[in-house]
Symmetry: C2
Subunit: 368 residues, 2 copies
């Protein structure tokens, strides 16, 4: 049931318009479209927000010849990336990035992570000085000089505050309103975090604020390394005990690695939706787990590149490259011995160790 626009109120020009918060979603893929749907259901209900939610769409021409933005605005549905789901009539797709963010008070970033540098460059000087941002982008590069947190990129490039929202969030399940949770990570301003919570929460989407941007954001990236390990266990048919053990060890290594990178990271973050719940979802389903399972079934004889090409229609696995980057950091810092699972995942991915080594790391190195 799509919410109806309240036509009585002219929110673009009315006397209260100037005080109302405007929200723009930057990105319109599968998860971006669901985020727009969640937000649009709330802006209609909350009087402090403008009803309209603008959504920047990277323009494409559909096979029918119609522009994607036109199709979204005509059907009230992202026919390409979230077909069958009404977004709310107050979602307005806009192919012009600058126009989409113009006048926005709150920006939701939800694009593939590799596009964010370019997007930030284009937005410099184009956003309000006091605009608040949130990143829903789960992947980042982990470089030796430090992880490239997307929230930090946004903050630094645009000179604005940036929260993050992560969790066990399979977009298609939330789109059909199945119960789920998420975590908002914030730096200092709890009021802003509460405003994000208010903007995203619905009866089927429970959002909890946590003062730990780095911990929350790192969970979204590091879990992919553990999902590769879980896939190996599945491929070797080792059973639920082993899989649970590997997931647990992985969660502990995620926690220890995050704390070594940022002393501010909190232990409790890993029991939030962004931590243990997202890890469970990712290790039960998900493409990292799936391709790693196929890799292990082949005895490591088929490469990840080959399997990705065959199984993912052009998508790349984040877990394999994150494992490589994490390995380089561990190696550079002399921490390899403290992270036997992370280290072993990478060594299996590059063929130095066989897939069965995933359960032998404990003999090789001391535990954390």
């Amino acid at each position: 049931m799509a919410p109806e626009l309240q036509q009585e109120e002219d929110y673009t020009t009315g006397p209260e318009a100037a005080h109302k918060t405007r929200v723009t979603v930057v990105g319109s893929g599968n998860w971006g479209s669901v985020a727009a749907k969640l937000i649009a259901s709330n802006t209609l209900k909350l009087s402090s927000f403008h009803d309209e939610v603008r959504m920047w769409v990277f323009e494409e021409t559909l096979p029918s010849g119609e522009k994607l933005t036109d199709a979204i605005n005509r059907n009230n549905e992202n026919v390409k990336y979230l077909p069958g789901i009404k977004l709310g009539k107050n979602v307005v797709a806009d192919p012009d990035l600058e126009n989409a963010v113009n006048g926005a008070n709150m920006l939701v970033f939800v694009t593939p992570h590799q596009f964010m540098e370019g997007i930030c460059r284009r937005l410099v000087g184009k956003v309000k000085a006091d605009v608040e941002a949130i990143s829903l982008i789960k992947e980042m590069e982990v470089k030796i000089e430090g992880p490239c947190m997307i929230s930090t990129l946004i903050s630094q490039q645009l000179g604005i505050n940036c929260c993050v929202l992560m969790g066990a969030n399979i977009a298609n399940e939330i789109a059909v309103e199945k119960f789920s949770e998420a975590t908002v990570g914030y730096r200092e301003n709890k009021e802003i975090a509460q405003k994000w919570v208010q903007l995203f929460s619905t009866s089927y989407f429970m959002v909890t604020p946590i003062q730990d941007v780095e911990g929350v954001e790192l969970c979204g990236t590091l879990k992919n390394v553990v999902a590769i390990a879980a896939g190996f266990v599945d491929g070797l048919e080792m059973g639920n005990n082993t899989k649970a053990a590997i997931m647990r060890i992985g969660l502990k290594e995620m926690q220890a690695f995050s704390k070594m990178l940022f002393s501010s990271v909190k232990d409790t973050t890993f029991l939030e939706s962004c931590g243990v719940a997202d890890l469970i979802t990712t290790c039960l389903g998900g493409r990292n787990r799936k391709v790693a399972e196929a890799f292990a079934r082949s005895g490591g004889k088929r490469s990840f590149d080959e399997l990705e090409a065959e199984m993912l229609q052009g998508q790349k696995l984040q877990g394999v490259s994150t494992a490589k980057e994490v390995y380089e950091v561990l190696s550079h810092c002399g921490w390899l011995d403290f992270f036997p699972l992370f280290a072993t995942v990478h060594e299996i991915c590059i063929g130095t160790l066989p897939p069965s080594a995933i359960v032998e790391h404990s003999e090789r190195t001391p535990k954390i």
Copy 2:
């Protein structure tokens, strides 16, 4: 490959015999037999232990007419409860409880929990004053006056120290030497905990000591309530997001409930094998999950009693009775609002709420 007894050394009468530690396993079901196998492989290797591991067996007559103890000792295999697995020739089955524990320095308790009161009564005055005990028994009654910790029962009845060992331990998977982990919970004496770790650890069974008997032991009981919730989610086909969310909320309630009962309980315990890993295993497989799934599929129309009778061949579900007991404690203490998941599980089990309420508890009550 079954380890061979070192015939050169007469461990029962030799000069060093008096100084060597003797181990008896009290119980010989599926998990008890696997525990005996793990221990027996280590007593052969560790010079401080007697090779022989005695195993008390509740005597039965097999369909062939042979006594179970005779069959175990003849075949070196528990043909009834762990067929196909060699226990080690140094495991000796004994149908006489008093004889089995006579002279033992370390006692491993691994029987159904309802038998422990009777067993303890029979053992009063029959065990060494300085004997060390460990309980592998995962279930307990949770009464209003406090949970009936099996470790406390053993300690108080016999006047001895008692540790616990819990974890993601599906016996049949460990029996075939698939990688797994466990947690030893101890009270004060870390050296004793280390001795238990040494006695149980193998290359495929990693054991970690944690100074938190109550936390470790409560995990083994409370996870069954969460498994019922996970089964409801499966039965309603709500998907991995929802299941991960319910498991996470359940883990948090396990932690909060344990801490309310015992202020000594540590947060970190719930990231050990006894916590998150056992929860994952139990929510992926396990009979609590399975019967709860069938209950939800029937829309709550078939009772748990009926489904148990049909699906479990006479076994009873621990999760349903634990949920009832926990509910009584929460109700008595005025804590129902702080534990919406635990409370909802019980109310669904007794038919007050429909299975779909498992994802609606968040609206009913404040979060912990």
